[in-house]
Symmetry: C2
Subunit: 148 residues, 2 copies
Amino acid sequence: MEFPSNIRKTQSRMRVWEILNHANTPLTAKEIAIRAAQDTKDQQGEGATEGALWLSSIYRALDAFANAHAVSRTVLSDSQEALYSLAGNGHHHYAICMNCKKKTELEGCPFAEEKTLHAVDQDFMIVGHTVEVYGYCKQCREQLSKKV
Amino acid sequence: MEFPSNIRKTQSRMRVWEILNHANTPLTAKEIAIRAAQDTKDQQGEGATEGALWLSSIYRALDAFANAHAVSRTVLSDSQEALYSLAGNGHHHYAICMNCKKKTELEGCPFAEEKTLHAVDQDFMIVGHTVEVYGYCKQCREQLSKKV
DNA sequence: TTGTTTCTGCGAATGATTCGCAATTGCAAC
DNA sequence: GTTGCAATTGCGAATCATTCGCAGAAACAA
């Protein structure tokens, strides 16, 4: 997926873009900030503050991308922070452990065959969807059952 | 669905329970507070403040219910406020208009046949899931296309 | 009725996100 | 490449949902 062409290509937006592009899971705004700071430190040495991305700028960049339909925003139901990832590249759904919060990617998408959507089709133009499965992962189940 | 038996049955919890029980869509904590205030006004007349539910109490009640698996909490991806509804009673998924935010109930659930979940089954105990379809409703599409 | 334990009222604290505004930067026309 | 203007950023302050803390008020078992 290419950097959206209808918005200005600025330094900070390009950095946010790069970070999302190299990430293999959705990131929070804060995580993006941390990675940006890390990159800066790697290049300019400890104590560098110049070049770090300000959180509000990250949010604004993400907003711009989201409006251009280039990144997608999701909120997992047990937290109130949003996760961002590049749209396109195919999309992903996750199974989230309610104990350790680990995310496991689901294979396939329940809407792949989109047979369940006929009720809406007619009156509703579908742009996207989210799916989230939650429960307990193996490790946590074992761990929790020991405690009893 | 019955009021959970493992938590104390207090006045405020019962009111939250009633409100959720009579609602036909998921509600935010604030909406619950408003309905509670409304009920109180209806019974005690204008200006009654006694009997209104404090927001933090509502959150605590919802938390208690959620722990007892009696209500479910969802966060729609374009906002950061949570929606609560009684669990059980079958569950619902919604199509949300990105313009007017109106929610239309989806018929059926893509996981009804749960064929897509085999990748997870083995290692992951599934407790629940959320599905959310977003796009534009008929009215908003018409309205938006006029503007161009 | 009493004692213990669990809630609630209330406000203050927290954490994510947004806003406001002056200074800066991207980019298009010269 | 310089100039000019609009879009963007840095930065902090504001907002909004949610959570915490604590003292007084219910629940409910004995």
